[in-house]
């Protein structure tokens, strides 16, 4: 079915982003143009899902060139689902960035729009070279956002991030060149099953899959992610975690389904590598001491779970993988946003300097524990359905070792979430010195650089407050910088504003809704898996025969 509206999903954010760059003064207009297009994209995603949920494949050939020559945009159930999830996350993370003030940076709204346009393009294109271009469109604003916001070591992290991503993009491009060299086309429709039939194409496509695995942070090529994500601002980490690696995962699913036709010969590689990803990620999280770095390591472990779906390549496995992908985007981003709210209000996210937040921030605690239990896979949240269907799919294939790994990793995930819960929310409140030090340093000074100075300065501040015994702690209030509210006498008033909390709350409610109303989502995932298993309608739509 030909739909001329399809490229608009990509073109509108791109053009509005270009417009935003030229708007200088009106911050309100910039905020409106940041949130508006994402809200429109949610609506567009809903429309795409409604159109494709019965297995229809929407297609548009840009410039109305004939089929096979044109650059096609294609939407089937899987890509529609991903577009919608991406739009929701972009909207929620943008709202969070507005309330933390990250969005106040002049080019931030424009960069977010370019980023989302790149993601939509990568999800909708059916041309491997265009996939490369859209991944670059997605990455270029990210380079800027990573280095623009965040702690002191953001430039070092930005350098690492650019280097790794440029290297993998170059490898991906080499893979595309090899595919063109041996197959004579980069159109996914014409390449359907080519890697299944010809080992040459399989090697060339393997180069592409290798590059995508680095971008998806699969073990053993995951090290860049854990080094870079904690260095930027919480809003940007949340946005990246929801979009970047997930686009790579989507591309792995799509390429393996279309190019390899789900070739059974290579599945064992996936099972081994992705199981290792689950295990290594969760073990890495055990040794971390800030909430954000724990969550980043869990991200890697969850990527292993999602990709197990494609490594099984059964109807149930793919369905479980797709459901898991959407669940993970929602739950993980919710966790990043709720801990990001803590980080913004309290100035840091170190486990040893936070405590007693369950009493002080009851609603935030509920939002966090909901998403945390969802991540660990407890009912009634979506994580339970995702893990249950995935476990059933693994049992169906008789991969007992993978099943043991998946369940063990779930337990360690739960343990890790309880570690955050036990210290940050239920743990004893750290004494005044530490809390004041944490507040004084603010977000900007991260880790060792800020610590010695911060230790000494608020020490005297707290001592002065102690001397004045009960009167307003003026010196401590002066020490609070970075936009945090002054600490009151009791220290019991919530410090996280409703505006900071709302984005995470929305996503936790969404993960609960996905868990309670899993039926509808499972139907959609089943349809998406069906489109991957039987690519004939996709191919027919792309090349028109």
């Amino acid at each position: 079915m030909n739909t001329p509206l399809l490229p608009l999903v990509v073109a509108v954010p791109l053009l509005l982003g270009a417009l935003l760059v030229s708007l200088e003064h009106s911050r309100r207009l910039r905020t409106a143009l940041l949130l508006g297009p994402s809200a429109a994209a949610v609506a567009a995603g809903g429309w795409l899902i409604a159109e494709t949920r019965d297995g229809t494949v929407l297609v548009h050939n840009v410039g109305l060139w004939p089929d096979g020559i044109a650059i096609p945009f294609v939407a089937d159930a899987f890509s529609s689902l991903m577009v919608t999830a991406t739009a929701v996350l972009t909207l929620v993370c943008s709202a969070f960035a507005v309330s933390t003030g990250t969005a106040r940076a002049r080019y931030f709204p424009a960069l977010v729009l370019f980023l989302s346009a790149g993601v939509y393009g990568a999800l909708l294109t059916a041309d491997l070279f265009n996939l490369f271009v859209f991944i670059e469109v997605m990455l270029l604003p990210s380079y800027g956002m990573l280095a623009m916001t965040g702690g002191l070591n953001r430039l070092g992290a930005g350098r690492l991030y650019v280097a790794v991503n440029l290297l993998t993009s170059t490898v991906f491009l080499a893979g595309v060149a090899l595919i063109y060299g041996v197959a004579g086309t980069v159109n996914m429709g014409e390449l359907a099953g080519a890697a299944h039939e010809s080992p040459l194409v399989a090697i060339a496509a393997g180069v592409c899959l290798l590059a995508l695995s680095v971008k998806a942070a699969v073990v053993p090529v995951h090290g860049w992610l854990t080094r870079t994500y904690p260095a930027t601002s919480p809003a940007v980490t949340a946005l990246f975690s929801g979009l970047h690696t997930k686009v790579a995962i989507y591309a792995i699913y799509r390429m393996y389904a279309v190019l390899f036709d789900g070739d059974q010969r290579y599945l064992w590689i996936g099972l081994v590598v992705f199981s290792a990803t689950m295990v290594v990620g969760v073990i890495g999280a055990v040794g971390q001491d800030t909430t954000r770095s724990i969550l980043v390591f869990h991200m890697i472990s969850q990527i292993g779970y999602i990709l197990i779906g494609v490594a099984l390549f059964t109807p149930l496995g793919l369905m479980a993988g797709i459901f898991y992908l959407v669940h993970n985007m929602v739950a993980k981003t919710s966790l990043f946003l709720s801990t990001g709210a803590i980080e913004h209000a309290y100035g840091h996210s170190r486990l040893d300097r936070l405590g007693g937040l369950a009493r002080r921030e009851p609603l935030l605690a509920v939002v966090f524990i909901g998403a945390a239990l969802s991540l660990a896979g407890l009912p009634p949240f979506s994580g339970f359905v995702a893990k249950l269907t995935l476990a059933l799919a693994i049992v169906e294939e008789g991969q007992w070792a993978v099943l043991v790994a998946a369940i063990a990793v779930s337990l360690i995930t739960l343990m890790s979430m309880l570690k955050i819960w036990g210290t940050v929310f239920w743990g004893p409140k750290p004494d005044d010195t530490d809390e004041a030090a944490g507040t004084g340093t603010g977000i900007a000074t991260d880790e060792p650089l800020g610590t010695p100075a911060a230790r000494t300065a608020p020490d005297s501040g707290a001592a002065a407050a102690g001397r004045s015994a009960g009167t307003a702690p003026v010196s401590v209030a002066e020490a609070t910088e970075a936009g945090a509210e002054p600490r009151d006498d009791e220290g019991t008033r919530p410090r996280v504003r409703p505006g900071l909390l709302a984005p995470a709350l929305v996503l936790t409610v969404l993960t609960l809704a996905l868990g309670l109303g899993a039926e509808a989502m499972l139907d959609l995932s089943t349809q998406a898996a069906q489109n991957l298993l039987d690519t004939s309608s996709y191919v027919e739509a792309v090349i028109g025969r």
Partner: protein, 121 residues
């Protein structure tokens, strides 16, 4: 054969430079690597000299394949912009890597003057 050798030499040089310390060398390494991939893209089409692939004037049997050329053009633009960005990151290098051997081999670790990024933070 010449093309294959060039790709090999460029890729080897690029990988060697990317593995060095110093941001400027890494950037130069990426320049070499992207040249290697561009040549690889060119070699995916027909490399012999052929007619310009213009509609209605060239016979498809003797015309060059325009697609790899378009790919290379796009890839050059992207690689160029990222190179500029990386060079920007290279000149804002400061306290975060005291062992950076990129520009001043004689400079002692930890004695660099206060740079722009530290002032901003």
């Amino acid at each position: 054969m010449t093309l294959a050798l060039s790709v090999g030499v460029l890729a080897a040089g690029g990988v060697y430079l990317v593995l060095q310390r110093g941001m400027v060398r890494i950037v130069l390494g990426f320049v070499l690597l992207s040249h290697a991939v561009n040549l690889l893209l060119m070699s995916a089409g027909v490399t012999a000299r052929r007619e310009p692939p213009l509609m209605d004037t060239a016979d498809p049997a003797t015309a060059a394949d325009p697609l790899p050329q378009a790919f290379v053009l796009t890839a050059i633009v992207i690689a160029f912009s990222i190179t500029i960005y990386m060079l920007t990151l290279a000149v804002t290098r400061d306290e975060d890597d005291p062992e950076d051997a990129g520009t001043e081999p004689g400079a002692e670790p930890g004695t660099e003057p206060v740079g722009p990024s530290e002032e901003r933070a």
